[in-house]
């Protein structure tokens, strides 16, 4: 059970850390100053969530590792984040589509996790849930603005939705690790979030005059450490400082 809990918390931590790294890449490059600040704020929320989760994962593991070692000193195959969060920023529409898919899942996920029998996870969820509400609203408003905007912005937003759609199936996967923890009242059954997630997306995409893709074939592998080609580049940038100067801190 300890192994399963460690893996479960690590997956959540990796999701938050990797998404924050991607969002941080926009810093100084976003289309407007307000949006630059906005994306950095969302990234910061994910850094905070990742720190709490990595610290808890380290405690559960009990091998003397800490949050920094988990985040900055593991290799590519040891990361357990879903493929969606590591997808490159692309144009602004792709970043927004990634945010929409992920935050529409995470908001109800955190809400459910507040009822976990694991007190630490429930406490982290109660904080993260409030932040996820901003992330979903931010992504939804942009999706509508771009979708129901010019012909060009609509085309790009639809392409972004279609491009990232195959990475959404992984959000709902429940392997032995998840099932075991769901049975123990610790984890959230992701299958139970599917209908609500689709309802949120349908509502936003309809208002954005965009089309929800058909179910189709889904990518998988991130939860077992099989990542996309660009993931190694992301890690090399994220982990540079600790690799170059091991053990250095502020």
């Amino acid at each position: 059970m300890t192994d399963a809990l460690f893996t479960y918390v690590l997956r959540l931590a990796d999701d938050a850390a990797i998404l924050s790294q991607r969002l941080g890449e926009w810093c100084g490059h976003a289309p407007t100053l307000e949006e630059d600040i906005g994306l950095a704020n969302v990234a910061l929320d994910h850094v905070g969530q990742a720190r709490a989760l990595y610290s808890y994962a380290a405690e559960v593991e009990g091998k003397g590792r800490d949050e920094d070692q988990l985040c900055f000193l593991r290799v590519e195959r040891a990361f357990r984040n879903c493929l969606l969060v590591e997808q490159p920023n692309g144009d602004f529409a792709q970043t927004i589509a990634r945010q929409l898919f992920f935050s529409a899942f995470m908001l109800p996920f955190w809400e459910k996790l507040t009822g976990s029998s694991d007190a630490t996870l429930a406490a982290i969820a109660a904080k993260a849930e409030k932040e996820a509400a901003y992330h979903l609203r931010h992504a939804s408003e942009w999706t509508i603005r771009l979708g129901d905007g010019t012909a060009e912005s609509q085309r790009r937003m639809q392409e972004a939705i279609d491009l990232l759609w195959p990475y959404t199936g992984e959000l709902f996967e429940a392997d032995d690790t998840v099932s075991q923890l769901v049975a123990a009242g610790i984890a959230v059954d992701p299958q139970g979030l599917r209908a609500g997630w689709l309802a949120t997306l349908s509502r936003v995409l309809e208002e954005a005059t965009l089309t929800l893709p058909a179910q189709g074939w889904m990518q998988t592998g991130g939860r077992d450490g099989r990542h996309s080609e660009s993931f190694g580049h992301l890690l090399s940038e994220m982990q540079y400082m600790q690799r170059a100067y091991p053990g250095r801190n502020w």
Partner: protein
């Protein structure tokens, strides 16, 4: 009552007195980013315990999980307590119950407004995917205001603008 019991009572009273003093000292530490509010005003300070020998344990809770001010809070609390004569300080971060702007007192809200930051409007428990609370301009009081961005200079604030007096302002988000 035995003599030993009296000594215990005296010690307990002395510790309680020190605890109240530590609570007051720690509670006066200002928010580095919103200096009109103290950590007591914000509800960031959750509990203070004093052990024999002047050892203080302080519980604080983050506003937002990634709030960078937490590191400054920790340093400032420790500095203030050591300066007040306590021998050592330990600071714990607690996550539950999750921080909410519902904890801000009416006095704290007025301090924010006077400082030029619109205080949180409404209750954190009421929330919809779209739609905003009515936010009054902290300068002129007009409700003719609009949101510029959900995210502002710190995690706890959003960017707003007053259409009546044309003043841009920070809004302390309802959280």
């Amino acid at each position: 009552m035995s003599a030993a019991g009296d000594t215990d009572t005296v010690q307990a009273l002395a510790l309680e007195e020190q605890r109240l003093r530590a609570l007051e000292v720690a509670g006066q530490v200002p928010d580095p980013e919103v200096p009109v509010l103290t950590i007591a005003d914000l509800g960031v300070l959750r509990d203070v315990r004093v052990r024999e020998g002047g050892v203080v344990e302080v519980d604080i809770t983050p506003t937002y999980t990634g709030c960078p001010a937490m590191a400054v809070f920790t340093m400032d609390i420790e500095t203030a307590l050591l300066a007040a004569g306590f021998s050592s300080v330990r600071i714990n971060t607690v996550l539950s119950p999750a921080w909410t702007t519902d904890w801000l007192s009416a006095e704290a809200r007025e301090k924010l407004r006077a400082y030029g930051i619109a205080p949180p409007a409404g209750k954190a428990s009421r929330r919809a995917l779209f739609g905003d609370d009515q936010v009054a301009c902290p300068r002129c009081g007009s409700l003719e205001t609009e949101k510029v961005s959900e995210f502002g200079s710190t995690a706890c604030k959003a960017l707003w603008r007053c259409r009546a007096c044309a003043e841009p302002f920070d809004y302390f988000k309802c959280h």
